[in-house]
């Protein structure tokens, strides 16, 4: 094939020449060209190498169906896009494009040795050959195959572009702006409906763009649509998926066709909800299957016509046609009219419409009926074809530099199938067409199987005198699947088309079998000797064409990936140089390093100060729920394990919450403010889950209870003041509350003011020290914090973070739900029997605590661990074994859940879930870690002040 630019014709702008490069060589084209049409016009035949055999490949199609011409375009760091179809790439000045899957060059490709060894790559080759041993697959086969076979390189730099996203709603969404889609839009435009018309190409018109007789109609129609205020037209927009309830995903491309690095978003994701969808996606011509059909220069007749009439490019000097369908003849006639030399028309049919013959004769075209192409000469481009009568006789050669295939048409039913509409087989078309819709959708035009392309016959493989076992006749060009691969799969026992597809990989490439599915099906049908309808069609799934990850991610990346929740005090911590960590979506200060301190030094200092004087901690992230109503106490009594009805107003209680399966799901200290009002706290990460659980029981199990639940997590800032000097710091600031130990004991709540701010003041402790948690309206959080810091200065008040909070609570054996429990831990496993109301008839999860496997011995129980080496801090998550001398794999009896250096105790401490842990007190267990197995003794979790003397002061 030696393509060239026709002297006239096409929709390109000949007054606007462009230059670009392909594999480093400079080329010229025009505004309105695609990369494919411009290269073709420059005489380029070779566009890529095939996936498996590295066979030289040229263009097959002219649009989204193109299987071969996958190329990469770069516009600088991070702006490298691989695997683009050259037929879909709009040319711009200065474009830099490269071919893929070849080394060292497209013309001389080392990987083509795969082709010479082609006999070793039959269907199921990967499955058969690389099964065993597993390590060979990971270390040898996969890396080697990845180097040799494959698509373009994945980009390695961060994508600097940004991507927009929007929702849209309309009455009628029309997908595809060919003649059928435009007619549908014009008809709908006459109503007062809101209409969106989208098309994947740069120009609307579809098939009309390659039919100059329709150009005046097209211009009039587009003007009419542009003048209709109720019609929104989106070009360069691909509807890639059709989801439930007429919800369509589409990507609009803004900048990929512009030179340089353009401003603005690169693409926009449209999420469109339509009352009615009209699919006008057209149809794709089907290749024919014969020896050499993948030679560069063998392409679809319809594509060659598009190149001639839309882009003004002849695909060759002397072009032959192999047809089984009338449409190819008409395409050849149209091309002849545009000045393309037609060498011959070969048709597999013995008889064709007389009018076609007359017209061919009139144009002086050599016609052979009842013949088929049986071979193609030329490796890097067609030089001649070998033709024979269908009975294998009368073999002759025809010189040509391009060969067109016209194998009939396949309606584009991808989106229809996404929407779960059913398909019906039509023998006359040899194709599936839309049948019963599953949504409010209809198909119009060629995608509904209504077209005026003429008639044809369906042939699975063209007749040939050659040995079918040696035939290299391709069905799926992109995945290198041949007709004999499909036949082999059938011989090996595959019956379902879904299995044949996966075994041969037919239709599994990035083009999703747009040109190969139906031919593959026909070949399987013949091999199985069953009608196509008994074999079925494989499933189409989104996306219709590959889309960028950028478009799907949209704005949800980097800092915008998800919101970061910050407390009112967060800004203070940031100014102090706190190191932060994320807890659920909350950003929490982890520790407050002073100059020269690492984490351990900072945490040790913070721990010392809390235990010896006073520390201050931002506990605002605690989940909070206000429970109000005459039945509030009854409700909590049913939800929590412990009794609530007798709790007096002004007192607090530690609440343990199970799910109905008996496992701990949350905990927290809650206070009764009044007979009908409770202030609940939950874990930081559990707030939403707990509210949902409580709402569920309240709404659906006990709707008779008169209770209201309100999330108040963000309404209060909570400042924890902990340490022996906590009361002294508070005393000058608080009004209306007697802070004395007698008047305000541990586990009590009082309401009053602090620095003039109304407060709910809890006397509670998660550290084991005298402590308070001061709740004030969120907006006052930082103000109050700074007042307390000023007041506490004389006691060296020390801000501490979550790390110190974790260490201090572990010294006291307080658990953290989700760290020391994992959804399989009961109150008994956690040593929290005391928090379970034994006399209560019922609470959520109670019945499960008597289930056989919950009371069975040998459950994992939460215990303390003290390493023999006091300086050894175990790794959290480390596995525990009873016998360190067993052969691998060893029996694990548990794992470390929490582990810290305890500055207070001058040694390491840990908590662990261990099988039968409660009965192992004092026994040695073993913790294998990298380099060494450590010995530890099972202990109580109460490492410090077990009698609670420091609390009750």
């Amino acid at each position: 094939m030696t393509g060239y630019r026709l002297p006239t014709g096409g929709r390109i702008n000949r007054a606007a020449p462009l230059t670009f490069s392909f594999d480093g060589t400079s080329f010229a084209g025009f505004e309105g060209d695609t990369l494919a049409s411009a290269l073709l016009a420059s005489g380029v035949k070779l566009f890529g190498r095939s996936f498996k055999y590295h066979r030289p490949r040229g263009l097959v199609g002219s649009g989204s169906e193109e299987p071969n011409a996958l190329i990469s375009v770069t516009r600088g760091p991070g702006r490298f896009t691989p695997n683009l179809r050259a037929t879909n790439v709009d040319l711009y000045q200065g474009m830099e494009a490269t071919s893929q899957n070849r080394w060292p060059s497209l013309k001389f490709d080392f990987g083509a040795i795969n082709d010479r060894l082609g006999m070793f790559f039959p269907a199921g080759f990967y499955n058969k050959t690389f099964m065993w041993p597993r390590s060979f697959w990971e270390k040898l086969y996969e890396p080697a195959i990845r180097r040799m076979a494959g698509l373009g390189q994945a980009p390695t730099d961060v994508d600097p572009d940004h991507y927009a996203a929007t929702y849209a709603h309309c009455d009628v969404l029309i997908i595809g702006a060919g003649p059928a889609g435009i007619d549908a839009a014009l008809e709908a435009a006459a109503t007062n409906k809101r209409i969106i018309l989208i098309d994947e190409q740069d120009e609307l018109g579809g098939g009309a763009l390659s039919d100059p007789t329709l150009w005046p109609w097209l211009e009039r129609s587009l003007k009419a649509l542009a003048a209709s205020p109720n019609v929104q037209v989106l070009a360069r927009t691909t509807a890639f998926g059709y989801f439930h309830d007429n919800f369509i995903g589409a990507v609009e491309r803004f900048t990929d066709h512009l030179p340089g690095i353009p401003h603005g978003p690169r693409e926009k994701l449209w999420r469109i909800r339509a009352a009615e969808v009209i699919l006008a996606q057209g149809a794709i011509e089907r290749p024919l299957v014969f020896e050499g059909n993948d030679t560069p220069g063998v392409m679809l007749a319809s594509a060659a016509k598009v190149f001639a009439l839309r882009y003004g490019v002849a695909v060759g000097q002397s072009v032959a046609l192999m047809a089984s369908h009338d449409s190819g003849w008409n395409d050849a006639f149209a091309m002849a009219g545009a000045g393309v030399g037609i060498a011959a028309i070969i048709d597999v049919r013995d008889v064709v419409n007389e009018a076609l013959l007359t017209k061919a004769n009139g144009l002086g075209i050599n016609v052979r009926l009842g013949h088929s192409v049986i071979g193609v000469r030329g490796r890097l481009g067609v030089k001649a074809i070998s033709v024979a009568r269908n009975d294998g006789t009368a073999v002759s050669d025809i010189t040509c530099d391009a060969l067109l295939m016209a194998g009939g048409w396949t309606p584009t039913v991808h989106l229809w199938s996404h929407s779960k509409g059913s398909l019906a087989w039509r023998d006359d078309l040899g194709a599936f067409v839309p049948d019963v819709p599953n949504e409010n959708v209809r198909c119009v035009g060629a995608c509904a199987g209504t077209w005026n392309f003429g008639a044809g016959v369906v042939v699975d493989v063209l007749p040939t005198p050659k040995d079918p076992a040696r035939l290299k006749a391709f069905v799926d060009f992109q995945n290198d699947v041949t007709a004999k691969d499909i036949k082999l799969a059938v011989r090996e026992g595959f019956r379902s088309i879904e299995h044949i597809k996966r075994y041969t990989t037919n239709g599994m490439a990035t083009d999703q079998g747009k040109t190969s599915n139906l031919n593959g099906l026909q070949i399987a049908s013949t091999a199985l000797n069953k009608p196509v309808t008994d074999i079925g069609l494989t499933t189409f799934r989104p996306p219709y064409t590959p889309q960028t990850f950028g478009a799907l991610a949209g704005h949800a990346k980097g800092a915008l990936f998800q919101p970061t929740r910050k407390t009112n005090i967060d800004s203070w911590a940031e100014e102090q140089g706190a190191v932060f960590e994320l807890v659920a979506q909350w950003r929490r200060a982890r520790y407050f390093p002073k100059a020269g301190e690492d984490m351990l030094a900072a945490v040790n200092r913070e721990c010392r100060m809390v235990r010896s004087s006073v520390g201050i901690f931002d506990a605002s992230t605690l989940g909070k729920i206000e429970v109000v109503g005459p039945d509030a106490a009854e409700f909590l009594n049913r939800m929590y394990t412990n009794p609530w009805k007798a709790l007096e107003p002004g007192r607090c209680r530690y609440g343990l919450l199970l799910k109905e399966d008996g496992f701990i799901t949350d905990d927290g200290v809650s206070a009764r403010l009044a007979p009908d009002r409770f202030h609940l706290t939950t874990t930081t990460g559990g707030a939403a889950r707990v509210l949902n659980l409580m709402e569920d029981y309240l709404q659906t199990e006990w709707p008779d209870l008169n209770v209201w639940l309100t999330s108040t997590s963000e309404h209060y800032a909570v400042i924890a003041l902990q340490g022996p000097n906590a009361r002294k710091v508070l005393e000058p600031l608080v009004e209306g509350i007697d802070l004395s130990a007698e008047a305000f004991p541990h586990m009590a709540i009082r309401e009053g003011t602090i620095c003039g701010i109304p407060t709910r003041l809890f006397r509670v402790s998660f550290t084991g020290e005298l402590g308070y948690e001061i709740n004030v309206p969120s907006a006052y959080g930082r103000t109050l914090w700074e007042r307390i810091m000023a007041e506490g200065a004389r006691y060296d008040i020390t801000p501490y973070g979550t790390e110190t909070m974790h260490v201090l609570r572990a010294e006291k054996g307080f658990i953290i739900v989700g760290q020391d429990t994992d959804g399989t831990v009961t109150p008994f496993d956690a040593g929290l029997d005391w928090a379970v109301g034994k006399k209560k008839a019922d609470f959520v999860g109670k019945r499960s605590l008597a289930r056989p496997d919950i009371v069975a011995p040998g459950r994992k129980q939460l215990v303390g661990l003290l390493t023999d080496d006091p300086n050894m801090v175990l790794e959290e998550g480390a596995q525990i074994v009873a016998d360190p001398n067993q052969p691998v794999p060893m029996k694990m009896i548990g794992h470390v859940t929490s582990s810290y250096w305890s500055e207070t105790l001058g040694r390491s401490i840990a908590m662990a879930l261990v099988e039968g842990g409660h009965s192992k007190m004092g026994q040695d267990i073993f913790v294998p870690m990298p380099g060494k197995t450590h010995v530890a003794k099972v202990s109580s979790m109460m490492f410090y002040d077990a009698e609670g003397a420091r609390l009750n002061v």
Binding site: N692, D696, D842, R847
Partner: protein, 90 residues
């Protein structure tokens, strides 16, 4: 993305606003302690997994916050109806 009709808001809203909440019409026994281990196991773990009509619960989590019941076809993924909690099985 499915559209779901909330029987409390009486509006069809996008699936994003809702949270699935398991099979419907499984009432918590009034006196769990009276149940045998097998009966409790059935209540706790055993669920229908029908091909076709499925009675299930949803919560209009990012709307009115109410739990309600629905009948959805597990083959077509289409909702047949939704109705308020406490109403008889449809």
């Amino acid at each position: 993305m499915i559209l779901i009709h909330c029987p409390y808001c009486d509006e069809k809203r996008a699936e994003l606003e809702f949270a699935y909440a398991g099979e419907a019409h499984i009432a918590r026994p009034l006196d769990p302690s009276a149940l045998s281990d097998e009966e409790w196991e059935t209540y706790l773990f055993i669920r229908n997994n029908p091909r076709g009509r499925h009675h299930e619960r949803w919560r209009h989590a990012h709307g009115c916050g109410r739990f309600f019941n629905a009948v959805r076809d597990t083959v077509t993924d289409k909702f047949e109806t939704t109705y308020k909690a406490g109403e008889p099985r449809k």
